[in-house]
């Protein structure tokens, strides 16, 4: 991996790595440090990482760094939902509709934030980062069968949390 390739990989995945860390740690400062560390480690291990598998490698590393930090801190730090919202979506319509969407977004985020770290991790890896079952199982050190069960249950719990918040598919 050349420095040019490293730069391209960093730019392609830095925000996803950072977003994953924020959702896992629910702390902006910790998430930034973890994302920075994960990206730095990619360079240090560039001889071991194929360019095509860099994304999975980064998310696996980010996840492990997050878990380490959670265990060390062992406190439920919280971050405001505004921090999890990200930038406003382009082209959003009038103020009433915007408020409705913001309210919906807040409920979705609250439901996701309330999941256990394991459930949150599998949902983020599978749905947000579009990782395969094999990649996720490798990242989390699980068997495929155990992972499938975990994902199924996580989906069910998130659905239950969304229903409880009054969020339903139309």
């Amino acid at each position: 991996m050349t420095s040019e390739e490293f730069g391209q990989i960093v730019m392609a995945h830095k925000d996803r790595v950072h977003t994953y860390a924020i959702w896992m740690l629910r702390n902006g400062d910790d998430a930034r440090e973890v994302a920075q560390e994960s990206l730095t480690r990619l360079w240090q291990h560039r001889g071991d990482v194929r360019n095509g598998s860099a994304k999975a490698w980064l998310l696996r590393t980010t996840h492990r760094l997050c878990i380490d930090r959670i265990r060390r801190k062992n406190t439920a730090t919280t971050v405001g939902l505004d921090d999890l919202a990200g930038p406003p979506a382009a082209g959003e319509p009038g103020p009433v509709r915007q408020m409705e969407r913001q309210e919906l977004r807040a409920k979705v985020m609250a439901a996701l934030a309330a999941l256990s770290p394991r459930d949150r991790a599998v949902m983020l890896m599978r749905e947000y980062n579009d990782m395969s079952y094999e990649e996720i199982a490798d990242a989390l050190g699980m068997s495929l069968a155990a992972l499938k069960t975990t994902i199924h249950r996580a989906r069910g719990r998130l659905r239950h949390a969304l229903n409880g918040a009054g969020v339903h598919s139309s």
């Binding site: 960093v10 790595v17 977003t19 996701l112 989906r155 659905r159």
Partner: protein
């Protein structure tokens, strides 16, 4: 013929099958068995209907950008640059927008600069330009893509005799409609 109830799924099995179907990992036999179960089970049918929405809420989570100072620190610690290369900086969204605005302004500035020998417009461009002017001025309607492109191209060659003829034709048409 096999008894359709022989392989009937329980709700627990059906839930697993629903997830597998959602992940495109269901065999044809299991697919049929799932459909048979869903035909008689409201709860499972409701779960299947709601599953795509649940997953979509996570898929649509917004990206939260890594702060620039953290990115700079990554590059400083790895490729030994003081900060992210200029090209990479321009790849962030707002900086790309600014860069695009600068480029657009430069192009506009270029169009206002007199040229020594402007290229002659093609007949198609002339015609499209005339149509575009007519449409905009007389009807106020939105230009289509061809007309927009023509206006962009014709902007480069505004002073040519051909363009003046087109503008003249448009002016006559305008006067006609005002009477």
């Amino acid at each position: 013929m096999n008894d359709p109830h022989e392989h009937a799924l329980t709700c627990e099995q059906a839930l697993d099958a629903i997830h597998a179907r959602f992940d495109d990992a269901l065999t044809d036999d299991d697919d049929a068995a799932l459909d048979a179960h869903l035909a008689t089970c409201d709860a499972c049918r409701e779960f299947e209907a709601g599953l795509p929405f649940v997953c979509e809420t996570v898929r649509r989570l917004p990206d939260i950008g890594l702060p620039d100072d953290a990115l700079d620190a990554v590059f400083a610690a790895t490729t030994r640059r003081r900060s992210a290369p200029l090209l990479y900086r321009l790849m962030t969204r707002w900086q790309t927008a600014v860069a695009a605005a600068v480029v657009a302004f430069a192009l506009l500035l270029g169009t206002l600069t007199p040229r020594r020998s402007p290229p002659a417009p093609s007949p198609e461009v002339e015609q499209a330009y005339a149509e575009a002017q007519f449409v905009v001025q007389l009807t106020g309607r939105v230009l289509n893509e061809v007309q927009h492109t023509a206006l962009d191209e014709i902007g480069e060659i505004r002073a040519t005799p051909a363009v003046q003829r087109v503008s003249g034709l448009w002016s006559i048409a305008t006067d006609d409609t005002q009477h």
